[in-house]
């Protein structure tokens, strides 16, 4: 099984975890991405959303499990085909939620082009933006190194 280990800066990442955890808590009862399910009857829609929510919660739980005792001892997190998909989806969910809430006032163009000047942001927004970029970096690392495992997996 292919596995990558990523050494993170504890000084940078550890302070982000409280916001990440709070964002995950905020996702416990709601879906991160907008839904357009008006074509479905009520019963199916409820089952559909319930199943999506269960999957999203499971993805986020597996993502948070990366930041365990070993991470706080060594700064290292590991990705392999067993957790890569869940972590990718959890990062997407958390980024969507951050964009919707803490980063709502930033224009899309600035975020997409990376031209946000952190010095001009409040401390809370700057921290959310750092989280947003950190999660994107994790996604890029996983896609770069584990795409074959993800594509070959069931």
């Amino acid at each position: 099984m292919k596995r990558i280990e990523v050494k993170l800066s504890l000084a940078v990442v550890a302070p982000l975890l409280d916001l990440i955890k709070a964002t995950v808590d905020g996702l416990a009862g709601r879906l991160a991405a907008p839904q357009h399910l008006q074509d479905l009857d009520e019963e199916l829609r409820a089952a559909w959303q319930g199943e999506l929510l269960g999957g999203q919660n499971d993805d986020c739980r597996r993502f948070l499990a990366l930041f365990d005792r070993e991470f706080f001892a060594s700064g290292t997190v590991g990705f392999d085909e067993a957790n890569a998909e869940a972590v990718l989806r959890a990062c997407a969910a958390i980024r969507l939620r951050l964009r919707e809430r803490e980063l709502a006032n930033l224009p899309d163009e600035a975020i997409e082009s990376g031209s946000v000047d952190s010095a001009q942001l409040s401390e809370a927004v700057a921290k959310a933006f750092l989280c947003y970029m950190f999660l994107a970096t994790l996604q890029e690392l996983i896609i770069e190194h584990l795409d074959s495992a993800i594509l070959d997996g069931q």
Binding site: A32, R95, L96, I143, L151
Partner: protein, 101 residues
């Protein structure tokens, strides 16, 4: 609910023509969002639909530049499964009746 839809081919082989005509065809449409990475969207399209890299990239760019891309057309049940799977991956996907048939 059937939720897993991976690498299923487009043609609903073996379905009687009359049944397809009654159900009609449905489109799976992915809408643009300002959050998900381009590389992530390409990976998801490859994973779910079995697209090769250039095809997945074409659809991703269509979503990015035109706001939407029809990524699959076929019977409703399978289209629902694809929409569900795309939503599991946090993409904004909708089901749309194909009025051209």
């Amino acid at each position: 609910m059937t939720v897993a839809a991976s690498r299923t081919e487009v043609a609903p082989a073996g379905r009687p023509e009359t049944e397809l005509a009654l159900e009609g065809l449905w489109r799976v449409v992915v809408l643009n969002d300002p959050v998900n990475l381009m590389s992530y969207v390409v990976l998801v399209f490859r994973k779910i639909f079995g697209f090769d890299e250039p095809k997945a990239r074409r659809h991703m760019l269509e979503v990015h530049e035109q706001g939407r891309s029809v990524v699959w057309t076929g019977v409703r049940e399978k289209a629902e499964a694809y929409v569900f799977t795309l939503q599991q991956w946090q993409l904004t996907a909708i089901l749309e009746r194909d009025e051209t048939h």
